[in-house]
């Protein structure tokens, strides 16, 4: 077939694929709702959820991952349109570092390692966050498959970061550990694991 013929053929096709963002809010909300309900059913909410939200450093445990999720999601949708990811995402690790410093100032030096190892919930944290992230990650990767990411692994990593952020925000409603010395490193590690899983999924499923 000559190239001119192919062009004529392409021009006859009026149907366009919907962009990744189409239909995503509903599916993602559904995935998050199911994952959150699962967490509440299995782990339950922490004692005094509402009271905890009045303490800034505790509130940050929920807000920061949520902000990360929003920014990573926006960046993922941008790279899926072959646009640049942008720099805003870097504000989150910067804020996390500030929180960590605040945590260090809040606690006497002798307490640092105690606070960082918490009350025996590290394993729960590192297991629960990736599990909660699973459904949202699937919803995101499925949506991004309709996109055109020039770097599939990168798009997948951003999807993983968004799913990890969502999961950490959800898990924070259960998590009884309120020191940044605990949640910055451990939530961070859990989110990084989901990010890596997203990168793998991206290099596999987001080629086009």
């Amino acid at each position: 077939m000559r190239t001119d013929d192919l062009i004529a053929l392409l021009a006859s096709d009026r149907l366009a694929e919907p962009p990744p963002s189409q239909g995503l809010p509903l599916r993602l909300a559904l995935a998050v709702a199911v994952a959150a309900a699962g967490m509440v059913a299995v782990l339950g909410l922490r004692a005094g959820v509402a009271a905890a939200a009045t303490v800034p450093l505790t509130l940050a445990k929920s807000v920061l991952p949520a902000v990360l999720a929003v920014l990573a999601l926006a960046a993922a949708l941008r790279v899926a349109r072959a646009a640049a990811a942008g720099w805003r995402l870097w504000a989150v690790p910067a804020a996390a570092m500030l929180l960590l410093v605040a945590g260090l100032f809040q606690e006497p030096t002798a307490m640092w390692s105690d606070k960082a190892s918490g009350n025996g919930t590290i394993l729960t944290c590192l297991t629960a966050i990736p599990l909660i992230a699973l459904l949202p990650l699937v919803a995101l990767i499925a949506a991004l498959r309709r996109g055109a990411a020039p770097f599939p692994a990168r798009a997948g990593a951003l999807a993983g970061m968004a799913a990890g952020g969502i999961a950490a925000a959800v898990y924070s409603l259960h998590c009884p550990e309120d020191s940044p010395l605990f949640y910055v490193p451990w939530y961070g590690l859990a989110i990084l694991c989901v990010t890596a899983a997203g990168a793998l999924a991206g290099s596999r499923f987001l080629r086009w």
């Binding site: 006859s12 009026r14 694929e17 962009p19 072959a82 646009a83």
Partner: protein
């Protein structure tokens, strides 16, 4: 330098997305020599026909992914990113991995006209052979014979809506097959 062309391409593509098939064909014809120039420059030794195969593969990708361009954004960064991914991908699947295609290529390489031969590319024909005969007949009728949607529908006993859907699915399938079957 590219200011005018940028406007032209964006205007054509905006019209295309609003349903203007003629503007869309003009857009694709305007983009093709640029793609061909880059593909020939980077794929020297591949041969003219294989280069044209790659060009067609990129055109197909641009077509199927055009929904990811936002009419309020410049078109060149989008177009070049799409084209670059597909060129590298096409070279890789032809055993030419590791070829670097800088994004600047698209702005700097001289556009290339089609060769003296009617630029017959082989891959699409092969992929059409892998489609079901009805869809292949539909795509050939519209592409090669220049049938309209309505004419193709009459020939195949399909409604226009059914022809449109079959055409779109056929093109998607064609792109999938290319990803898997290029040797």
């Amino acid at each position: 330098m590219h200011g005018k062309a940028e406007d032209d391409w964006a205007v054509l593509m905006r019209a295309a997305l609003a349903g203007d098939a003629a503007a869309y064909a003009r857009f694709l014809r305007a983009v093709t020599p640029v793609l061909r120039g880059v593909v020939r420059a980077r794929g020297a030794g591949l041969g003219e026909a294989a280069c044209e195969d790659v060009v067609q593969e990129v055109l197909l990708a641009i077509h199927l992914k055009r929904g990811t361009w936002r009419p309020d954004e410049p078109i060149r960064p989008w177009l070049y990113a799409i084209a670059r991914y597909k060129v590298v991908d096409a070279f890789r699947s032809r055993g030419r991995g590791g070829i670097d295609v800088p994004i600047e290529d698209f702005a700097e390489t001289l556009p290339a006209a089609a060769g003296p031969d009617p630029t017959e590319a082989r891959d699409v024909e092969r992929m059409l052979g892998l489609l079901d005969p009805r869809t292949a007949g539909l795509l050939r009728g519209i592409g090669v014979e220049g049938e309209s949607i309505a004419e193709a529908g009459r020939r195949l006993g399909m409604t226009e809506g059914a022809v449109r859907v079959a055409l779109h699915r056929g093109l998607k399938r064609l792109a999938e097959l290319r990803g898997r079957h290029v040797e």
